[in-house]
Structures are given as structure tokens and as C-alpha cells.
């Protein structure tokens, strides 16, 4: 499906299909949903199986589960402060869901649900709605002073307030686009290099096979890079959520 003639079809990998055969088709269960369920099952499985032993000296799986937990927990406390404990379950869910989505997407034939703006957009909206609700709960109507920095001249209010509101509203957009663009770009690059290999091999015969080693090496290197990006983007999403929650709780 990759290369017909000289065209590279790099985007067909993001097309939604149906999962689970006929049953999935009749209820519109997509291949993205399949991987989401798999990610959720893996996360729950990791935590359940990892923590079942409750060993004093953790085994490998328990160490992984504990490290995972500690990592997100410390991130919450460091960024939000003591109140961060309240938001830990949310941030942990978000981080693990995105991380597993990014990582599962790197397997062949697996759909990368974080490469869809609908998914990342929904997650970012969830974050921003939560942040706004938290800010309103903590500060009531005082929250709206957030849009007008203390000490700014009153005369500039008609200019500053719309700009601050727009800046606030652009948070979910930038949050979702960053994750979506990173994942999409990485997977398009995989596809493009893989297409180069097929094109070289079909067009040039034996010499092409040798030359196809170039894109292959690039793809191998890219896989390492994408592993980094998969982790980093989940981290960035989670830490920005924490920073926004910090702003909501402390209202600078």
C-alpha cells in the first residue's frame, strides 16, 4: 500500500478503520478504540500484576510499576505543590494513557491514537475544563483577576483582557497540536523512508537493494528517536497540565 509508482501514500496509516470484525463495524468500533482499550488494559495489568506481590524488595515488574508511580507523583508535588496530591490520579491517568498510546503506536500494524487531533484535542479540552473548574472552586470570582495583571494601567484594560483571554484559550490548542504534530510527523517519516526502500528495490533491482540499506538505517535510527519523542511528548503534556493546575491553584 505504500508506494504505487512514484507516489508515496504516507497518510493512509492514519485512516480509521473498523476493529473487531463485523461486530465492530456495526457499532462503529474503530481500530483506534482497539488500541485505546489495549493501552488501558496494559496500564491496569502493569499496576495490578506489578503490585500484587507487595514485596519489600521489588521484582522487575514491581520496580517498574513503582518507578512509574513515583515519577508522576513527584512531578505533581514538584510542580503543583502539596495540593498536587489531589490531582495525582488525573495526571497519572493522562500521562499513562498518552505514553502507552505513543509507545504502542510504534509497533507495526498498531494504530497511533495520539496522532489524531480529535483524541489529543479531547484530552486537552478535558485538561482546560478541569483547570478552569479548579480555579473557580479555589478562588471563586477572584479567578477573573487572572486576566488582568495587578499593577497594569487601567487604561490598557480593553487591550490586555482580550489578549489574556485569547492566550488562555490558546492553551488547549497548543497542547493538543504539539502532541498530534509530533506523533504524526514521526509516523509520516517512517512511512516515507520505508517507501524509499520499496521504490529503490523495485526500480533499480540489485543495486536498489543495496541502496535501500540507506533508508533502512535511517528508519532504525528514527525508531530510537521516536521512542524518545513518545516519552517526551507524554511528559510534556503531563507537565504542562501540572503547570496549568499550579496556576489554577495558586493564581499568580
Amino acid at each position: 500500500m505504500a508506494a504505487e509508482g512514484s507516489s508515496i501514500d504516507a497518510l493512509s496509516q492514519f485512516r480509521l478503520g473498523h476493529g473487531l470484525g463485523e461486530v465492530g463495524r456495526s457499532v462503529n468500533f474503530t481500530n483506534a478504540n482497539e488500541i485505546m482499550l489495549l493501552a488501558a488494559a496494559l496500564i491496569l495489568g502493569l499496576l495490578y500484576l506489578g503490585m500484587r506481590e507487595r514485596a519489600m524488595v521489588p521484582g522487575r515488574l514491581q520496580a517498574l510499576a513503582e518507578t512509574f508511580y513515583d515519577f508522576v507523583y513527584n512531578m505533581c508535588i514538584d510542580q503543583i505543590g502539596e495540593e498536587g496530591k489531589k490531582f495525582f490520579p488525573f495526571v497519572f491517568t493522562l500521562f499513562s494513557f498518552i505514553l502507552f498510546g505513543n509507545l504502542l503506536g510504534l509497533f507495526p500494524y498498531f494504530f497511533t491514537y495520539t496522532s489524531h487531533l480529535a483524541v489529543t484535542g479531547a484530552l486537552a479540552l478535558l485538561v482546560i475544563v478541569l483547570v478552569t473548574v479548579v480555579a473557580l472552586r479555589y478562588h471563586g470570582l477572584h479567578f477573573f483577576t487572572y486576566f488582568f495583571p495587578a499593577g497594569a494601567p487601567k487604561l490598557l484594560a480593553p487591550l490586555i483582557i482580550p489578549i489574556e483571554i485569547l492566550s488562555y484559550l490558546s492553551r488547549p490548542v497548543s497542547l493538543s497540536i504539539r502532541l498530534f504534530a509530533n506523533m504524526t510527523a514521526g509516523h509520516v517519516m517512517f512511512e516515507v523512508f520505508a517507501s524509499f526502500m520499496i521504490m529503490l528495490a523495485t526500480a533499480l533491482g540489485v543495486i536498489g537493494y543495496v541502496m535501500a540499506l540507506g533508508p533502512l538505517v535511517l528508519n532504525v535510527a528514527l525508531m530510537g528517536f521516536e521512542l524518545l519523542v513518545a516519552f517526551l511528548q507524554a511528559y510534556v503534556f503531563a507537565i504542562l497540565t501540572c503547570i496549568y493546575l499550579h496556576d489554577a491553584v495558586h493564581l499568580h
Binding site: 489578549i163 489574556e164 485569547l166 490558546s170 490548542v173 497548543s174 504539539r178 504534530a181 495558586h250
Partner: protein, 110 residues
């Protein structure tokens, strides 16, 4: 047992010194001073671009929506494009500008 206690104190001291020497104990870091996001010029460039574009996109969307609703075709679009661009610059300034101190000193700022 003062001798024992002394031994223990000296042991703790020597242990701490040894751990320090090998860098085993994390230094107590100044709270909120470190930039939580990894610094990497390429990633920073990408983030700046995304911030600029997303604020502008929100501005365009709001302006277009208001125009569509009120039937004042180019007025709000023109206004909100400018405001969106300004909000984008504000986002970038928040990203790269000096960070306001976080938690500890809250004096003077709400």
C-alpha cells in the same frame, strides 16, 4: 555508652562524607528554580511556533465566529487577528522570558 554514641555519630558523618564524595545524595534543589521542560533548541523552536500559531488560530476562529453571528463581515476578524497575534507573542514571552518565582515568595503578587 557515650563511646558507642560517639562511634555512631562519627560513622554517620563518615558515611555522609563518602556518599557526598560519590555523588549518591541528591543535592537539595532550590524549589521551583529548575525549568521543568527539557531544554533543546529544536524542541523550543517547535514550541514557539506552535504557541504563535495556536493563539492566532484561536483569534481567527473567534473573530470569524463573531462576524458570522453578527453579520459584520470583516470587522471582528480583523480585530481578533491582531489580538490573537498579540496573544501568541505573549505566550512566547511566557515561554522564553524570565520566569516569575513560583511558590515560596508570594509577597506583593496575587
Amino acid at each position: 555508652m557515650p563511646e558507642d554514641e560517639q562511634d555512631e555519630a562519627s560513622f554517620e558523618r563518615r558515611l555522609a562524607a563518602a556518599r557526598e564524595r560519590h555523588g549518591l545524595d541528591a543535592k537539595p534543589k532550590a524549589a521551583g528554580k529548575d525549568d521543568p521542560l527539557p531544554f533543546n533548541p529544536f524542541a523550543l523552536m517547535f514550541r514557539v511556533g506552535v504557541e504563535l500559531v495556536s493563539a492566532l488560530a484561536v483569534g481567527v476562529a473567534i473573530g470569524y465566529g463573531l462576524d458570522h453571528w453578527l453579520g459584520t463581515q470583516p470587522l471582528f476578524l480583523a480585530l481578533f487577528v491582531v489580538l490573537g497575534g498579540a496573544a501568541g507573542v505573549l505566550n512566547v514571552w511566557r515561554l522564553v522570558g524570565p520566569r516569575p518565582e513560583r511558590d515560596p515568595p508570594k509577597a506583593g503578587r496575587k
